[in-house]
């Protein structure tokens, strides 16, 4: 893409932002009128959002959008996925091109407070790490003084590396690319000693390299990267929908409700399950949906644990352990407020 096209696109997005009607209808209304949800996802990162062999989008971030679509339309297929680079994602959300940004995006204060968006929750607790070629014989990030480091722009990653090396008093040479494929190609060609990104992304990337066994992820995690879906600021109802769909998936895991047994669970005597699945109470009304919203979401993508294992856990090629993403009662950080 040359400059004219690129600046043109950005300018068009800005113009859309500038020309958006001052008083807009609610996002839920717009989504209902359109008949489908538009969801901004990564251009391709295994386990989070990537098209599978049949061209269907799959991943833990994709599941969030499918669950929301199921809660609204009772059909997880009514989603249009818009692949975005790290650089494009916020403008796409701000200008109304997408309804949800579910693209391994770190929740930070500046993004939450001055970028025109709100985070709805955390669907993956991550942290930034380093990957190096085994042949360098590096065992720890503390040995990286003087190394060249490949980074993708438009992420919190650039700042974290700078902070880490400033803190430890080491020097390094950054090589910054716009897109992930070029970043990885440069790392692979030996332009850099180190590729740095969120740990989950390092594992996903390692699988795509010629011989994954030649590369190791160093033990240090240098930052907190709580990843989660975000929505435009100023529409509390829409934020509530996304937030509570996310919570419902975590609660479902805690209560033992899965996509397989959710129909049987409708007859459960547990009041918590009854409230969640809409058998009891009127919880759908509060978010402008039918009372079976959570039932539909769970039936479509399974509970949080199922989604995790299928996309990034033992059921996937990534084989990432639950770690911080285990339920709170199992020593992890995933904890959802109750539905009552």
């Amino acid at each position: 893409m040359n400059l004219q096209v690129k600046i043109g696109l950005t300018a068009a997005a800005l113009l859309a932002l500038a020309a958006a009607p001052a008083a807009a209808q609610g996002t839920l209304q717009k989504v209902n009128d359109r008949g489908e949800l538009t969801c901004g996802v990564n251009t391709g990162i295994a386990g989070f959002s990537a098209p599978d062999e049949k061209g269907n989008w799959a991943g833990i971030d994709v599941d969030v959008c499918r669950a929301v679509a199921a809660a609204i339309f009772k059909d997880p297929k009514k989603v249009k996925f818009v692949p975005l680079t790290a650089k494009e994602r916020f403008t796409a959300l701000q200008s109304g091109e997408i309804d949800i940004l579910s693209r391994n995006t770190t929740w930070t204060m500046s993004r939450d407070t001055s970028a025109g968006m709100n985070f709805a929750g955390i669907n993956y607790y991550d942290g930034q790490g380093f990957m190096v070629n085994k042949s360098l014989g590096v065992k720890s990030a503390k040995e990286l003084a003087g190394a060249s480091i490949c980074v993708q722009t438009g992420t919190t990653t650039e700042l974290n590396v700078a902070d880490y090396f400033r803190q430890t008093g080491m020097t390094y040479k950054p090589v910054v690319f716009e897109k992930l494929p070029e970043t990885i190609a440069a790392y692979n060609a030996g332009r850099c000693d180190v590729f740095t990104s969120d740990a989950s992304q390092l594992y996903a990337t390692r699988l795509t390299l010629g011989n994954p066994g030649d590369h190791i992820v160093l033990p240090e995690v240098i930052s907190k990267e709580p990843l989660g879906p975000a929505v435009r600021q100023g529409d509390a109802q829409w934020a509530n929908i996304v937030r509570w769909v996310l919570f419902a998936l975590v609660n479902a895991e805690e209560l033992g409700v899965t996509s397989a047994n959710v129909d049987k669970m409708l007859e459960s005597s547990n009041p918590e399950i009854k409230r969640m699945l809409g058998v009891e109470g009127d919880f759908g009304k509060g978010v402008g949906l039918d009372n079976d919203w959570a039932y539909q979401a769970i039936k479509a993508v399974g509970n949080y644990g199922e989604s995790f294992e299928r996309n990034v856990g033992q059921g996937s090629r990534l084989k990432i352990s639950r770690g911080q993403n285990a339920l709170w009662r199992d020593g992890g950080l995933q904890y959802a407020p109750p539905i009552r």
Partner: protein, 406 residues
């Protein structure tokens, strides 16, 4: 939309000096109508502009997106691989902007010179009477001109990366320089006291060369005798600083690069990203310039050349004194376009990791501040300014080269 004054028929005996001009008559006056419509258009355009700006501000505030230019004074916090001016990750976003801008200007400046040189050589080669040279130049133009520049950059960049060895197997060059996949590292000169003398000698050499040139020209016109002022001028420009350098006692030391665990450390490094970008942009733009040069030379009437040969001028003199000066008038205007294209295409740097203005400022800074409107406005303004200045210089040059008709 200016029409001519309508012909007015005068009734006999009517007051000729004061034609009646009531407001109703103005409707039938094409000139007045034209002015009215133009004023209406301008007012509508201004109203549209005001509406867009105020709507953008309202929406930004409503969505709680930060605005204003205060972010330029905040700490950037990220690092940049090539900085021509002092910059660390504790510098401000404003400073990062200047780093990006100087990097863009570096590429544009060197790229313009290189593409012009290659373009002229290839353009003249296409007109060569040597069949092989003319065909080779033709193939070059046709192939390069028809490949998207972004693909060329990728091809060159990854070709460079694949060809060069890893740092551990660096190619050691003379003068303790090293070449590897991370770039070409040479000793970094550190200037000591007395270097000012060398600078002064350089300026003095330039002034002397200009004076000498003017004198040689006057003498040639007066007496017809030729003085080799180009060589003498070069000798002055190079010789004087060299002399001053040794007189001042070689006021320079070198920071020689050494082989570290990961990289060559110390010294000055020429990044592979910069080389790939320069080579790609220069080769691409040169193909267009070559065609412009060929067209310009072909546009000089054949009789001019024949007349020059008839006067006994040599092949080189015919080219240098008769053909090229006339061809320049055809060449310069489209050449300006190519210079502007090269400058704008330099933003493709973002794809291969060269930290130009778009990469650093409209990329990283935009993402970290989330102030897309301000950042894009500044970036577009800068490219507009660079392009306007380039056009201005080229127009001035064009006016100088234009045919002075007597």
């Amino acid at each position: 939309m200016m029409g001519r004054e309508p012909v007015t028929f005068k009734a006999p005996g009517a007051d000729v000096s004061h034609p009646r001009r009531s407001p109703i008559d103005l409707i039938y006056d094409p000139k007045a109508r034209g002015i009215f419509l133009q004023v209406l258009l301008v007012v509508a355009l201004i109203a549209l502009g005001v509406e867009i700006v105020s709507n953008a501000i309202t929406n930004l505030q409503k969505q709680n997106i930060a605005s204003g230019f205060g972010f330029l004074d905040r700490i950037a916090g990220f690092d940049i691989s090539q900085t021509l001016i002092d910059y660390t990750n504790t510098s401000t976003y404003g400073r990062a902007f200047w780093v990006g801008l100087t990097n863009t200007l570096l590429v544009a400046g060197i790229g313009i010179v290189a593409s012009t040189v290659i373009g002229f050589i290839v353009g003249i080669a296409r007109l060569s009477s040597n069949w092989l040279i003319a065909r080779l130049a033709g193939v070059y133009v046709e192939v390069v001109r028809n490949i998207p520049p972004l693909l060329m950059l990728f091809a060159i960049y990854f070709a460079v990366l694949k060809t060069l060895p890893l740092p551990r197997d660096s190619i050691a060059l003379p003068l303790s320089s090293y070449l590897n996949v991370r770039g070409l590292t040479v000793p970094k000169p550190i200037w000591q006291d007395g270097i000012g003398l060398v600078g002064a000698a350089f300026i003095a050499g330039c002034v002397a060369a200009i004076v000498l040139g003017a004198w040689a020209r006057r003498r040639r016109i007066a007496t017809g005798r030729i003085f080799p002022s180009v060589w003498a001028g070069l000798a002055l420009i190079i010789g004087l600083p060299v002399l001053a350098f040794f007189l001042a006692g070689s006021p320079v030391t070198f920071n020689a690069p050494t082989v570290g665990r990961f990289n060559i450390t110390g010294g000055l490094t020429l990044l592979p990203e910069l080389v790939a970008l320069l080579v790609g942009l220069s080769l691409y733009t040169a193909a267009f310039i070559a065609e412009i040069v060929r067209a310009g030379i072909a546009g000089v009437p054949k009789g001019q050349k024949e007349a020059a040969f008839a006067l006994g001028l040599s092949q080189g003199q015919v080219m240098r004194l008769v053909v090229i000066p006339q061809a320049m008038r055809i060449i310069i205007p489209p050449l300006t376009n190519q210079y502007l294209n090269l400058t704008k295409n330099s933003s493709l740097a973002v794809a291969i990791g060269y930290p130009d203005l778009v990469h650093v400022f409209a990329g990283t800074v935009l993402n970290q501040t989330n102030q897309a409107i301000e950042v894009i406005l500044i970036t577009m303004g800068v490219y507009l300014l660079i392009s306007l200045v380039t056009s201005l210089l080229m127009n001035w040059f064009n006016a100088r080269m234009a045919l002075v008709e007597r």
